[in-house]
Symmetry: C2
Subunit: 665 residues, 2 copies
Amino acid sequence: RIWSIYESIQTYVILTIVGICIGTTAAVLNVMTEYLSNIRTGYCTTALYLNRNFCTWGELDEHQATTWVEYSRFGVLNYAMFITISLVLALTSSKLVMHYAPLAAGSGISEIKCIASGFTLKKFLSFATYSLKSIGLPLAIASGLSVGKEGPSVHYAVCIGSVISKLFARKVLKTHQKNVWFRNILVAASGAGVAVAFGSPMGGVLFSVEEISNMFKLSTMWESYYCSLIAVATLQFFDPFRTGQVVLFEVIFDQDWHFFEIPIYIILGIFGGIYGIVVAKFNIKAVSFRKKYLGQRYLKEVAVLAIITASISYFNDFLRMDMTESMQFLFQECDEHPHHNICNLESKPEAAKAIFSLLWATVLRMIFTVFTYGCKVPAGIFVPSMATGATFGRALGIIFQLWRQNNPESSYFTSGCLVDNKQCITPGVYAFLGGGACLSGITHLTVCVVVIMFELTGALKYIIPTMITVATTKIINDKWGKGGIADQMIVFNGLPFIDPHEEHNFFGHPVSDAMTIKVVSLPLQGVTYGQLMAILKETDFQHFPIIQSASKPLIKGYIRREDLINVIERFAGDPLTDTPCIFDNDSLSEDDILNFTEAVNTAPLTVNVYVPTEHVLDIFHKLGPGCLLVESDGLLQGLITRKDVLKYEYVLHHIDHDESIRIRE
Amino acid sequence: RIWSIYESIQTYVILTIVGICIGTTAAVLNVMTEYLSNIRTGYCTTALYLNRNFCTWGELDEHQATTWVEYSRFGVLNYAMFITISLVLALTSSKLVMHYAPLAAGSGISEIKCIASGFTLKKFLSFATYSLKSIGLPLAIASGLSVGKEGPSVHYAVCIGSVISKLFARKVLKTHQKNVWFRNILVAASGAGVAVAFGSPMGGVLFSVEEISNMFKLSTMWESYYCSLIAVATLQFFDPFRTGQVVLFEVIFDQDWHFFEIPIYIILGIFGGIYGIVVAKFNIKAVSFRKKYLGQRYLKEVAVLAIITASISYFNDFLRMDMTESMQFLFQECDEHPHHNICNLESKPEAAKAIFSLLWATVLRMIFTVFTYGCKVPAGIFVPSMATGATFGRALGIIFQLWRQNNPESSYFTSGCLVDNKQCITPGVYAFLGGGACLSGITHLTVCVVVIMFELTGALKYIIPTMITVATTKIINDKWGKGGIADQMIVFNGLPFIDPHEEHNFFGHPVSDAMTIKVVSLPLQGVTYGQLMAILKETDFQHFPIIQSASKPLIKGYIRREDLINVIERFAGDPLTDTPCIFDNDSLSEDDILNFTEAVNTAPLTVNVYVPTEHVLDIFHKLGPGCLLVESDGLLQGLITRKDVLKYEYVLHHIDHDESIRIRE
């Protein structure tokens, strides 16, 4: 009774601590990122450690600020400083990460999906990985590389979940339950990671449901909810931006949408789908190239990327700005910044220039993202994708607006807008929808993306347009895409993962084709301690079926290697080589025996040899056993594990594939 | 190939039609409800068929409208009209529903949960039920009874899903797949039902995930998303309120929340939890009383309820108004209606009067809801719960605001607010949060409630407070509640449902205790057509195991009754009484045989007799088979279905229960 009360409190205690740690980390990271981003363009004369925002606090016009100054009056020198600082930041990030915790490089979402589905990746969730990911991330973002913070946020959040739950968990749960419990904490932490990255608590919850969690359970969703709430409340408490807001940008659209805009929403959705497919495809190629030819020369690669990105970005407004700033800017209506060239569309050349500048930013951001995602710094792909979509969407919005300006009396427009309504079309909305479309295109998430976009901006009136755009992207992706980038990376890297949401085709082959027949089974009686030790020493099988006898292998039970070892270790006294091992109470006769009865699962899951492999996979997903015994007429025929299924799928599908794809053992 | 393309399009085609029908129905219902609600207090002099809103369209001040007039200048006559019309509406609703489609009475969510989990309830999803639910619902709501429209909306939406998919589905799927596909359509439709009821498409999606769907799959979520989108877009297209909005109320809160308000959020959450527990408990008692003593006197009951509700409600502002109007009113800040007494808090008696009026409305609404939910009209409980929470929350908000007015310099308040900030505390926010808390309290939903509240109001700044309140309610419910009202109704009515989210305790009893041993099994050879027909005629078993022979009942396969019948019907020629029936290709020898081989499942799911019943239940939930064969050493020992598990649970837990609880066969 007391234990069970303690257990329920334990989960809350741990989730609370995890949430607070995630929120605190996020707050520190936000401050660091903002400061480091700012020093690329100037410094604070009153105090070097202040970022631009605090430095110019209280000054009326940011552009005439006297306390925050550029490095030099000469544009060229500023340009050189910009590139140099970007380079230093990127190299520091890469060097630190690769030296101390190489697993902290990259995004981490793919690996976390595998861990949540039940596999183990050593050191991936260690304290070292956490520290280096948190230190490397602000450096990488501030360097101007086309990387986002949400993937790495998920990774450090899950590291925190793992470290804290190992520190605080008491051994009150059985091994199997404990693993499930532990994985649930990790799933909850992953949700909190997205929640703090975007300041979007419900988006985080839905991310953990839609992307990470392997088996959906209401209790897991609730844990994720609780952890995200604590994390975001903590972040809000620290209020790192000193704006009282945790969201990256808040935009209020006060115009309603019109039915005649639906074709544009659909075009944006199609763009999102194409973006996702193209970027994923070329990114996989880039990663493959890196693996084959670059090897250990990752620092040079990062240096080249940083220099190219910085030197080109400097000349485009939307690339030079921090990505989130740039999105905030693009989402707003023109009354917020009437003097920028994307709002001065009176003359044709000016309008053309604005559109060109936006499309140019779109193309460049796509190229940068393709090459940068996967390089050896902590790097996410959500925010770069949104930024790409935002520039494209804004360009499309301006084109659409100009078209209407030239045809204000067309019946197409008058169906929804009065002729003299200047505000009828809001290009900011298209930027917003474009961002959502690209985010959905690259991740293949739907509900989660809609909720994140909604929470980011509170665009209540635009929920239906967002849904239309994301639905279009989803349909394109389903038809021509190959899964979200995280899933494609899993396949590419040969990570041990069986996607429960995907169709697996074994062409109806029965489990007898996929199972392993290399099984050591133990008869109920007749095995001695010496023989058992020899088996444990010479093989590394994890699963041992128990059978009636070698001549009549009726399945009687099943025991795991660790249970065998446990019983042996707990044996009072020293077993002799010929001490008999007993797996069945009926066989208890002698005194001096090794009795494994308590550890035997007498009713293991069995499947018939004719069961289709698809069905076996279904059982693994849904019931989550470690292995299944394969029988025919009650007699043991073999044994099958998840890895056997994966290997068999690999054999069936990937025989002619490139050698870089292999299954990690 | 063509069939598979057709199949994928088929789902979209059907979901589109379903969505359009749901949206259209919702639009018609909204118009009807508004008109009928209005005529209780007056009529339009220019055209009788106009509701108040259209009647006074363009007039500046609603209160001085000349085209919409009350029935008489005498208050007493108006009062009498109000009660009479309420009574007529309620009786019409009840009479129509109970006469033509009694299954359309009540909410319907409980039954839909059962259907989604795989059981069949005849006529529950028929066209008649749909029609009567749609006609009865506006009458019931307009009568002023304390009923909401979301439960019935879910019900009529699922009816539409069922009718349309039966009309348009082509037979391209196998029976088993078809059932799963059909249930997915129903789940998607249920989401669309909530989506149109609240104008909250994402809330609908999450409702279908959190409440209805038995097995979460991403594809089901996507179908629900698509269907909700179409339904809400259709509703928006018809624009029944002529406001361009589909949501019931939109409120913009422009104040930020403060950390010192968290205790109030928690109090609201606790109230929500208590509300849920108390209302569910007494409602079950009321329903039980109705079942035992009222029997067929449902019309009298409805009449009494309508008269009492109308005659009391007339004297309280918040009860007389339509529930959604009243909530809109309570959520708003005082600058929207500065003259109402809940905004005139200068003098103590006035403030006390306002608080008393709100608390009085809270108590009455609770009592009305307890007695009304479950009576024989279409009735939901979501909106009444929200309305109750809103009056309570507003009262609490006013008390809190007064407290601050009296202690403006207390350090408790100055931690977050300047002393001279009059706007620091917004009572409307507490009304909003109270509504969310009670909704969560009665339904036990969390994520869905937060998203619905969010979508209803676009209260972006208040997402963390909403989450805190709902989390508190959830913790109270988990500790002391007995599940959402829908689940409690399922238990109370003995509906065939196994809650996949609930713990089921079979005290470790093995499946051999729960299984049925009354099984007719068919040997591979030796059964004649005559014998088979006798078996089919004399028993109503649905599942027939195939065994090696009667003397050695090794499990060889499994066949369902409908497959047996199918094969017999398709047999060319007339089988003779002694025509042999063959279930195994090895036995094929003679020409004139009934060959069932193709229809036999040669690798059925089997479980060992020692498997704990909890585990069997898990298999039913997660793999969804019709039945499981129970074996020992490969020999058939019995058979178990979901109903056997339910019966066994009933035997274990409910032996001493009241006789009104029984398992419907």
